[in-house]
């Protein structure tokens, strides 16, 4: 049985109340997170396909690395 490619996508979401601008998410997932001039994250708003394993791994590192547990990965039905 062939493994079906994963459908759908994901978006990294930040809880702006928990975020204290440590900037770890940007270092861990630069392809998904930009940093504004005060050090807060600007996260890529459009969904990334789940098949993009590198981006998904970066996102997981960012979630794990956040000192304030302010990030989560949200799944979306479509990838773009």
């Amino acid at each position: 049985m062939a493994i079906k490619p994963k459908a759908g996508g994901f978006v990294l979401r930040v809880d702006p109340i928990l975020c204290d601008g440590f900037g770890h998410c940007h270092e861990l997932a630069p392809e998904l997170v930009q940093i504004d001039e005060w050090g807060y994250p600007i996260i890529k708003g459009t969904p990334t396909p789940l098949s993009d394993a590198d981006a998904l791994e970066s996102a997981r590192f960012a979630v794990r690395g956040c000192p304030r547990q302010a990030l989560r990965i949200e799944r979306t039905p479509t990838s773009n």
């Binding site: 928990l18 770890h24 270092e27 940093i35 996260i43 547990q69």
Partner: protein, 209 residues
């Protein structure tokens, strides 16, 4: 209790005690680096955080060996519960109690960090403040109980650890960065202009645009 003693167990207790003290001092100093937003140019902020997390695991292993060899060695009657319950040791009750207090606090910090994803971040932070008390208690325990800690090199080591701990505490208190402290520029993408996606996101968040 099983009567079991060997000088090598005692040597292990002394050596791992010193190593654990050095490592926990390093962990606290690195934690202060992370909290004070150090890094972002030559070393990543996340790298300091990862060092903080992984060295704490190594420190806990040394602490466990330190405690186990103390309990197993019947030469000093500490009693099995003296590692967690203060003042239950027949040998130097107060001095061993300081170690027990440090161990209990370290356990609290460790368990809360393991459960970090499941508990409120605010609770985790509150428990994480205990690590300062734990280090202070461990330093006092080391100085008062240690066989070598009042001799030349042992004393020097204790003084260096205490100085690092005090410097970290003062730095943490006076720097007090509660919010963002500027951008981290480690990634080559950091200076790149915002792409379309990022602009979409900021527009989505700010309805006036």
């Amino acid at each position: 209790m099983i009567a079991f003693t060997s000088p090598y167990i005692w040597y292990t207790t002394r050596a791992t005690g010193f190593v654990a003290l050095i490592l926990f001092t390093l962990v606290v100093a690195l934690g202060t680096f992370v909290a004070n937003r150090i890094g972002g140019t030559y070393v990543g902020r996340f790298e300091l955080n990862e060092l903080h997390r992984s060295i704490s695991m190594v420190a806990i292993v040394f602490l466990m060996v330190h405690i186990l060899t103390t309990l197993v060695d019947s030469y000093v009657p500490t009693g099995w519960f003296s590692a967690v319950i203060p003042l239950t040791s027949k040998y130097e009750p107060v001095h061993v109690a300081l170690g027990a207090v440090a161990f209990d606090l370290i356990l609290a910090v460790w368990v809360s960090s393991l459960l970090k994803a499941r508990i409120a971040n605010r609770s985790w932070r509150f428990i994480h403040w205990f690590s300062w008390l734990a280090l202070a208690s461990a330093l006092a325990h080391s100085f008062l109980t240690g066989t070598d800690s009042r001799s030349s090199w042992g004393l020097a080591l204790g003084v260096v650890c205490a100085a690092v701990a005090l410097a970290s505490a003062l730095w943490r208190y006076f720097a007090r960065p509660t919010r963002a402290a500027g951008r981290t520029a480690l990634s080559p993408l950091a200076v790149a202009p915002l792409d379309g996606d990022a602009r979409d996101e900021s527009a989505r968040r700010d309805p006036s645009r």
